[in-house]
Symmetry: C2
Subunit: 172 residues, 2 copies
DNA sequence: GACCCCCACGTGATTTTATAACATTATCGC
DNA sequence: GCGATAATGTTATAAAATCACGTGGGGGTC
């Protein structure tokens, strides 16, 4: 948690997720990034783990553990729940993916490697998920925590609403 | 499941939830408040619903639906999951309780009646839950949402950490 | 009061999400 | 290669939530 507070205005890091982009490229980049991270930290990005990460990156939205499990089975991996959950646990523990509590689902991390405490924007219409940086300990919650003597260790921040594409669709 | 042995002394009202306070008083007040609200809005605070709210207020921490269900059974109500879930749905829908996504559990609302978007502080040691006001649309998340064109409709904000009492215990 | 309708409740069954427990296989340091 | 360790595969089960269907109570209307 050394990364610091920028005022997060217009030049905030783009909340990856709602823009159009070369997707196969970003999947490849993210996988390569994960490989590097694991090599550097002595972690093992095994075939199942790599596949799960790849699936999350490809789908680019929140996937339930059992949806992932189905895709794993199609890819010839084990098909029992622990297979998916263990891979997801690994990815989440090491910051390659996040769990969306609100959906009981998982997304690939949009900022792997950077220490961050994520905040999510979840489209209630298309299930797209964008990740932004949150600033736990700042703002109203931080003030309330200090006032109450509560020590924040981590925070779940998940906003639900309409993504730009679905807003346009609704307007039309 | 241990009964709470926290010392409850008559003290100042507890705006945030971690302070000690006259608990039976605040339960009664909150129930009365709920009755009033329901009467005003033409809602029916039926026996099951009232009992569930009472249980949540009494426990003063997050309770799982099945824990509530057990307590309901003890009190002579129906004992199948839908009984608890329907009552909880009602309470959550009308702002008398909130769901803590992180715990798959429910708490009584600390500020019934006021329109608010809640933020929670969850003690990982004793499961106590305090409710504060969050300010969705402000701060980092709001800025990111505006930048991305995302329309926030509601937000889940749940901080996990140590409450004052457990911090003291850990220090000792 | 008789009737009707709606809403809430009770219950059984099922779906979805997640973990426990244990045997087997792969990997790493030596 | 060898032993310790970590990861995987599999069976079984727990925990959380919902579906479907029947019953009954409280207000309205007449």
């Amino acid at each position: 948690m050394t990364r610091d507070e920028r005022p997060l205005s217009a030049d905030a890091p783009a909340p990856l997720g709602f823009e159009t982009h070369d997707h196969s490229l970003c999947v490849g980049q993210a996988l390569a990034e994960a490989e590097t991270q694991c090599a550097q930290h002595g972690l093992r990005l095994t075939p199942v783990r790599r596949k799960v990460l790849e699936l999350l990156l490809q789908e680019h939205r929140a996937l339930g553990a059992y949806a992932i499990l189905d895709l794993l089975r199609d890819a010839g991996f084990g098909s029992q729940p622990p297979v998916a959950y263990r891979a997801l646990d690994f990815l989440v523990e090491h910051g390659f993916a996040h769990k969306i509590e609100r959906l009981n689902a998982f997304v690939a991390c949009a900022h792997p490697g950077e220490s961050h405490s994520p905040a999510f924007m979840i489209c209630r219409s298309c299930d797209a998920v964008a990740e932004a940086q949150s600033t736990p300990g700042k703002g109203a919650l931080g003030a309330a925590a200090r006032a109450a003597g509560f020590q924040i260790e981590k925070a779940v921040v998940e906003a639900e609403g309409l993504c730009p594409a679905c807003t346009d669709k609704a307007d039309a």
